[in-house]
């Protein structure tokens, strides 16, 4: 008799290797850009050169005359709903009578090869009548061009503190800039339907919008999860999806499109730039009495997720702190700037930059240590959110985060004179005596999952096969390691090691929801856990066994059923998992708005050449509330990646706009941090039981981006003595008056 197998390998708490890692390392992993089909055509997009204009006429003839061009489509060719949109379908599939942002799609073409497609696109003559463009968010507010206004009032509005600090802050437009650009392939099925393989964070919502705009029945369209080179929010909205399907159905041929980098910058939504006005009032002991905030974000020309981003920004406008009295007014402005939408952090990043600057200023005004002030006002389990009044019933170890940051030893003072250790690097600008070191702290609070009464859920299926088990899901893997973690959850729940995760399309499984809002581990993970757990119980009950492992079903240490036989029995379980319900806001912004929360803190150490304004981010250390680290290595990966994006926003990343036109839509001038810009990171994972996620896990993707920018800014302030109310911080902000 064979001995019992031990606990499964590769379960929760371990860091098993990614199942797609070897393929990615060998260059054999299929991304959307790598797909092809027999007889495939290539598509290109004609875009508006104006921020706002009336379309007078479109002449397709010059393009159609080019050999190898198969189709040129405009708004008139959209078979179904002429608009699309993640929350509100207000964005034209193709502009009809007016273009409302620079880069707005006006027409699409399909041709034999990418070059011909681009030439055809360039040959299409569009006559515009330029109109005045609205490019200022404050002006939009005054003209009532808004997607949403949100008003939050909590506590006695007549309450005031004796120590008052006011400030105005600004956050520039960051871009997600995933390395993989937009790409897709649409294959007509010959029966009026189409299969879509495109970069996405949410195939079911793509499916909905494609079905609506193509005027098809849902079963006629299948959206397939496809390999994707990063997302960070840029892949939630539809961009080329409807265009590809239209062209495929029109030509009867598979159609592929890949955006080049410049077009990618234009072709997806960006992080909302924000203007924030704050007033913090405290009593003499440092207790926060009142926080007033005005939050203005520029949503650009179309709605995208501006409504939700604004809401998030307002709900998190106070941060992880208690306050007796709160007043927040938020504006999601509509302008003729390029549309903004989801980017990792989703509104919480922008307000954190402001409220953490305020907390430091307040500490200064009180003569208090900045961490002491935060400790005194820390929001924890059982407290009510200062903004919404929601009682925090999840573990929220804010005090532990602060304690951990304090306890982390500071690095030794810099002694090296090697250029690689100095600001300016190989530019040789700086000697050690030009450098001031600064340390800054910041805390951030983020919701996990969707909010405001969204019926958010995820479906997953677990099936037993003759080899082991398969987890089927439409949940998109963008690199974060979901595909690894779902396997781990199934292993631990089933008690077996041989588990694979398989992506299936929209026709074969219900929605897993979006890969965003740090929600997939909890939602799809929750569905997987429940499905695997139920399946195990059912199998054991059916065979009257007491143990299940890779060999099969056991009872009293005797193997009852071998796995190969079990695999033939057709066992499967499908679960749709929902989180505890949330509500929308009342007229004062009060409600059980969020599904879960996570808190994180960052401590940045920077060396600043104050005369030249050059910054070296030496370290960014962090303590993050993770619930339970299902895969510690993946969690660390999310933290280090998120922190560097926060560093990017702090010192180098911004889309520069002029009258609605992006001036730096290339990697030459939209600067992403290189390996030489990356700080060292020490990450302390704070685990506490009690969250509703699988095994108590919390989402970890966004918290690293919330307060890392604010911490770096605080450190630069400490080093330079400058106020620095805007990010990204430029050398001139530090060096000049």
């Amino acid at each position: 008799m064979a001995p019992r197998v031990r606990a499964p390998e590769g379960g929760v708490g371990e860091s098993p290797l990614r199942p797609d890692g070897a393929a990615k390392l060998r260059g054999e992993f299929d991304y959307a850009q790598d797909l092809s089909a027999e007889g495939m055509l290539w598509a290109a997009t004609v875009r508006s050169p104006h921020a706002r204009a009336r379309i007078v006429a479109i002449d397709l003839a010059p393009a159609l005359a080019i050999g190898g061009v198969h189709a040129c489509l405009t708004a008139d060719d959209v078979p179904g709903r002429g608009t699309f949109g993640l929350e509100h379908p207000d964005q034209p599939v193709l502009a009809a009578d007016e273009v409302r942002f620079w880069g707005e799609p006006v027409a699409v073409v399909a041709a034999e090869d990418p070059d011909t497609a681009r030439r055809a696109a360039a040959a299409i003559e569009v006559r515009y009548e330029e109109l005045d463009a609205l490019t200022d968010a404050e002006e939009a507010d005054r003209s009532d061009e808004v997607f949403r206004r949100l008003r939050i009032r909590r506590g006695d509005q007549a309450l005031h503190g004796t120590v008052v600090v006011e400030g105005e802050y600004e956050v520039g437009m960051q871009d997600q800039a995933p390395l993989g650009t937009e790409a897709g392939l649409a294959i007509p099925d010959g029966e009026g339907g189409v299969d879509l393989y495109a970069t996405s964070q949410y195939v079911h919502v793509d499916h909905e919008q494609v079905v609506a705009s193509l005027g098809l029945r849902p079963e006629q369209v299948r959206a397939h999860p496809t390999g994707i080179g990063g997302a960070f929010g840029a892949r939630e909205d539809v961009n080329l999806h409807i265009h590809l399907c239209m062209l495929a159905l029109h030509t009867g041929r598979p159609v592929k499109m890949v955006y080049q980098r410049s077009e990618s910058f234009t072709g997806h939504v960006h992080r909302h730039p924000a203007w924030l006005r704050y007033r913090h009032e405290a009593d003499e002991d440092g207790r926060l009495v009142r926080v007033e905030a005005r939050v203005v974000i520029d949503g650009g020309a179309y709605a995208s997720t501006t409504s939700a981003v604004l809401a998030n920004a307002c709900y998190f406008a106070v941060g992880p702190y208690r306050s007796d009295s709160v007043s927040v007014d938020g504006v999601g402005a509509r302008t003729n700037n390029p549309p903004c939408g989801a980017m990792r952090g989703f509104g919480a990043v922008q307000v954190c930059f402001a409220y953490e600057a305020q907390m430091d200023r307040l500490a200064g005004a009180l003569g208090m240590d900045p961490l002491d002030l935060r400790e005194l006002n820390a929001l924890g389990t059982g407290d009510s959110m200062a903004t919404t009044g929601q009682v925090i019933d999840t573990p929220l170890p804010t005090l532990d985060v602060i304690k951990s940051l304090r306890a982390m030893p500071l690095p030794e003072p810099a002694t090296s004179a090697h250029h690689s250790d100095l600001p300016g690097g190989s530019g040789l600008t700086t000697e050690p005596h030009h450098v001031r070191r600064g340390v800054g702290y910041a805390l951030g609070l983020k919701n996990l999952g969707f909010s405001e009464g969204s019926d958010d859920y995820a479906q997953a299926r677990v099936r037993l096969t003759s080899e082991g088990a398969v987890v089927e899901t439409a949940a998109i893997e963008v690199g974060q390691g979901l595909v690894t973690v779902l396997g781990q959850i199934a292993r631990s729940a089933l008690g077996i090691s041989n588990v694979e995760v398989a992506h299936v399309d929209t026709s074969r499984i219900d929605s897993a929801g979006s890969t965003s809002a740090s929600r997939q581990t909890q939602l799809s993970g929750g569905a997987t856990l429940e499905a695997a757990t139920r399946l195990r119980h059912r199998v054991l009950a059916h065979h009257d066994g007491d143990q299940l492992d890779d060999q099969g079903v056991w009872r009293d240490d005797e193997l009852l059923v071998e796995w190969s036989a079990l695999g033939e029995e057709g066992w499967e379980e499908t679960v749709t998992f929902r989180h505890p319900p949330t509500t929308g806001p009342d007229e004062n912004g009060q409600g059980v708005i969020h599904a879960d929360f996570a808190v994180a803190g960052h401590r940045a150490v920077v060396d600043v050449d104050t005369e030249l304004g050059l910054v070296k981010v030496v370290r960014v250390d962090t303590a993050q509330d993770v619930g339970l680290a299902l895969n510690p290595q993946s969690v660390r990966g999310q933290i280090e990646g998120g922190i560097l994006q926060g560093v990017g926003l702090a010192v180098m990343e911004e889309l520069v706009m002029k009258e609605g036109v992006i001036l730096n839509a290339t990697f030459t001038d939209y600067l992403l941090p290189t390996i030489l810009d990356a700080p060292d990171v020490e990450a302390l994972l704070i685990e506490r039981e009690g969250s509703w996620g699988p095994f108590g896990a919390k989402g970890v993707g966004e918290p690293p981006t919330i307060s890392s920018t604010a911490a770096v800014a605080a450190a630069i302030r400490a080093a330079s003595g400058k106020e620095l109310n805007r990010v990204p911080i430029r050398p001139q902000d530090i060096a000049l008056e």
Partner: protein, 154 residues
């Protein structure tokens, strides 16, 4: 136009639309999809290959200019089965997330170790300075490359 060159040790004849790049040739004509196009201006390194012994961005090499040259891509660095020590180290360290930058980093790292079998941390960073990663924050990549043990086969 027809271009003859050696790719991953094999003599090949490729057909390319002039004035396309070596990256276009590798991907579109030879079906070697490992090298990626993420910026088409040499600012991200995801198209990195070794051309005549030098690490370059294949998007910046005109295909016609690669005639009679020798090119090594990520496919050429990978062994028939399994992983090169650099790939193995990256796999174990969790240095792969979305993976779009990964082939370029593998090629750049293998090139580094070929020239310098025991690079310092600074040397690793300077060698990878032309490879952008948006997902990992580079921490795991650095840990991976610091842990690489190069055997006799490289």
């Amino acid at each position: 136009m027809i271009v003859e060159l050696t790719v991953n040790g094999e003599q090949v004849t490729a057909r390319v639309t002039h004035p396309g790049s070596l990256l276009d040739l590798l991907r579109d004509d030879l079906g070697l999809l490992g090298s990626k196009n993420a910026c088409e201006q040499g600012e991200c390194g995801s198209c990195s290959v070794v051309l005549d012994g030098e690490l370059v961005c294949s998007c910046l090499v005109m295909a016609a200019d690669a005639a009679n040259s020798s090119v090594t891509t990520v496919e050429g660095v990978s062994p028939e089965d399994g992983l090169h020590p650099v790939q193995e180290a990256m796999h174990r360290a969790g240095a792969v997330q979305c993976g779009f930058c990964t082939p370029g980093i593998v090629v750049a790292a293998v090139d580094l170790f070929a020239r310098n079998p025991h690079p310092s941390g600074t040397e690793i960073k300077e060698a990878l300075a032309g490879n952008i990663c948006r997902c990992t924050g580079y921490g795991a990549i650095i840990r991976a490359l610091e842990a690489v043990e190069i055997g006799a086969e490289t």
